[in-house]
């Protein structure tokens, strides 16, 4: 009987210990503040145009020549680094694909910056950078290690003439259908970087992951 008792204890230890050890040692899926809450303006700070005065009096309007706005666009980011994870990738401007989803560079070593929104270094809003965590054809991508990022890790982004520095304030793994695009792609509110890749369980039938991994970082004071 003693022999079987030993076997019982050993098997129970493995059956409980192995999954527990796996759970405890892998990087957390979420950390820090909820990603959709970062940088959102406090109250609905609307850009309401000046209202006409009360008691039936109307304001005097201001006018200017009706010419197209200047074409000045923000400088593009060219490189992003997360030293703690060994991430160092070229950045290219991207738009949307035919389905209206953010276009991701095909080459997994490259990441894309959403060019219709703010650029890193702009005074307001979320600069969104995304890349493949991996693809079937090419294997692991530039953002493959992103799951292991910690709150407080440094992110540096190269724009023409300078290096911008950010610190991670939150990461979250969110089911793709529930990705809060309004907040993550917001063009107003505090300036921030939003990094997005895939994560969570892999769904082989769809050849895609169930979740998005989202990391939000705020500018290091004095670095912009």
């Amino acid at each position: 009987m003693r022999r079987w008792l030993i076997v019982l204890v050993a098997c129970a230890a493995v059956a409980v210990g192995v999954p527990a050890a796996w759970l405890v040692t892998r990087p957390a899926a979420n950390a820090g503040v909820p990603v959709a809450s970062v940088g959102v303006p406090a109250a609905a700070a609307s850009s309401t145009p000046p209202a006409a005065g009360g008691n039936g009096s109307l304001p005097t309007l201001t006018a200017r020549p009706a010419t197209p706005p200047s074409d000045a666009s923000s400088p593009y980011p060219s490189r992003i680094r997360v030293p703690a994870l060994g991430i160092d990738a070229a950045v290219e401007p991207v738009g949307v694909d035919a389905r209206g989803f953010m276009a991701i560079p095909r080459e997994v070593a490259q990441v894309g910056w959403y060019r219709f929104g703010p650029a890193p270094g702009d005074p307001a809003g979320a600069a969104v950078i995304a890349g493949h965590v991996d693809t079937r054809q090419q294997g692991a991508g530039a953002l493959f290690p992103l799951r292991a990022v910690d709150v407080g890790d440094l992110i540096s982004v190269t724009v023409p003439g300078r290096e911008l520095r950010y610190r991670v304030v939150g990461k979250q793994t969110i089911v793709k259908q529930r990705l809060p695009v309004e907040e993550l792609f917001a063009r107003d509110g505090a300036p921030r970087i939003v990094l997005i890749t895939c994560g969570g369980p892999f769904v082989p039938e769809l050849a895609s992951y169930r979740d998005n991994l989202v990391v939000v970082a705020a500018p290091v004071a004095g670095s912009q």
Partner: protein, 270 residues
């Protein structure tokens, strides 16, 4: 979409017609109103309901938008320094401003060269991501025109005082205005940056016979939509489920514990 003309003697004009879409940032009971001066050679003062709204308003100028309380307005345009009494250069009585619309009132020449006022409702509905809205308004004393982008007509047979619009991929186009059905260029060409998330409104104004046809541009921004998602992985290498070998080990161990447990129980009973 037909624009709405107002006449000095006509009754109330309903501006809105179901295309007025409330911009969320508007104060209740108001509409955002801008005024464009498209009558060549006349610097003017503009009065609404007897109150001076604009001073020394020059041709080719656009006002910054203001929130006007909904209601009915009598608009009078005088040569600068004249008015508010006397005969205005242009008058529109009973212009109805609803709540929640975005409107541009344009002083311009009609097809016969007579100055009139036309209110237009601006489409501020949300755009699909990556898109821009192009609106063109014919406010010139000129015959029907085609509007071309990159040499290809985008809008055909546009007449005074009508408008045409389309949602297009954002980007810069080389735009010009030609006499309808011809390649005779009336205005342009010029590079037009159709910025993502904006409604770029192009006004053709002036007079063909006086050879002063020009283009004025109004831009309404903040209409962008967001991408539907971020598809960023097809490899399965960071799959978040318990890896298969570990799962097999766990199940095997659980099975072993079951077998061992039964043997222990049997041995105990003996």
């Amino acid at each position: 979409m037909r624009s709405l003309r107002t006449f000095a003697v006509a009754g109330a004009v309903a501006v809105g017609l179901g295309l007025a879409l409330a911009a969320p940032s508007q104060a209740a009971g108001t509409s955002e109103v801008s005024v464009l001066h498209g009558v060549p050679g006349l610097t003017v003062d503009v009065y609404a309901n007897g109150n001076k709204l604009l001073n020394n308003f020059k041709p080719g100028s656009l006002t910054d938008p203001v929130a006007l309380p909904q209601g009915t307005y009598d608009l009078k345009v005088f040569a600068a320094g004249k008015g508010p009494s006397g005969t205005p250069a242009i008058e529109a009585k009973g212009v109805k401003v609803p709540s929640g619309a975005n409107i541009t009132v344009v002083a311009h020449l009609d097809a016969d060269g007579k100055p009139i006022l036309t209110p237009y409702v601006n489409d501020t509905s949300t755009l699909a991501p990556g898109k821009a809205r192009l609106t063109v308004r014919h406010d010139a004393a000129a015959p029907a025109v085609d509007v071309r982008a990159g040499g290809t007509p985008v809008f055909k047979g546009l007449t005074n005082p009508n408008e045409a619009k389309a949602d297009v991929p954002a980007g810069t186009v080389k735009a010009d205005v030609v006499l309808a059905g011809t390649s005779t260029v009336a205005i342009g060409p010029a590079d037009l940056n159709l910025k993502e998330g904006t409604n770029t409104i192009v006004y053709a104004w002036g007079s063909a016979t006086d050879k002063n046809l020009k283009v004025a541009v109004q831009t309404i921004s903040g209409l962008h939509g967001n991408p539907g998602g971020v598809p960023s992985g097809t490899g399965g290498l960071v799959d978040d489920s318990l890896p298969l070998p570990l799962l097999a080990l766990t199940l095997f161990a659980a099975g072993g514990a079951l077998v061992a447990g039964r043997r222990v129980a049997i041995a105990r009973r003996q």
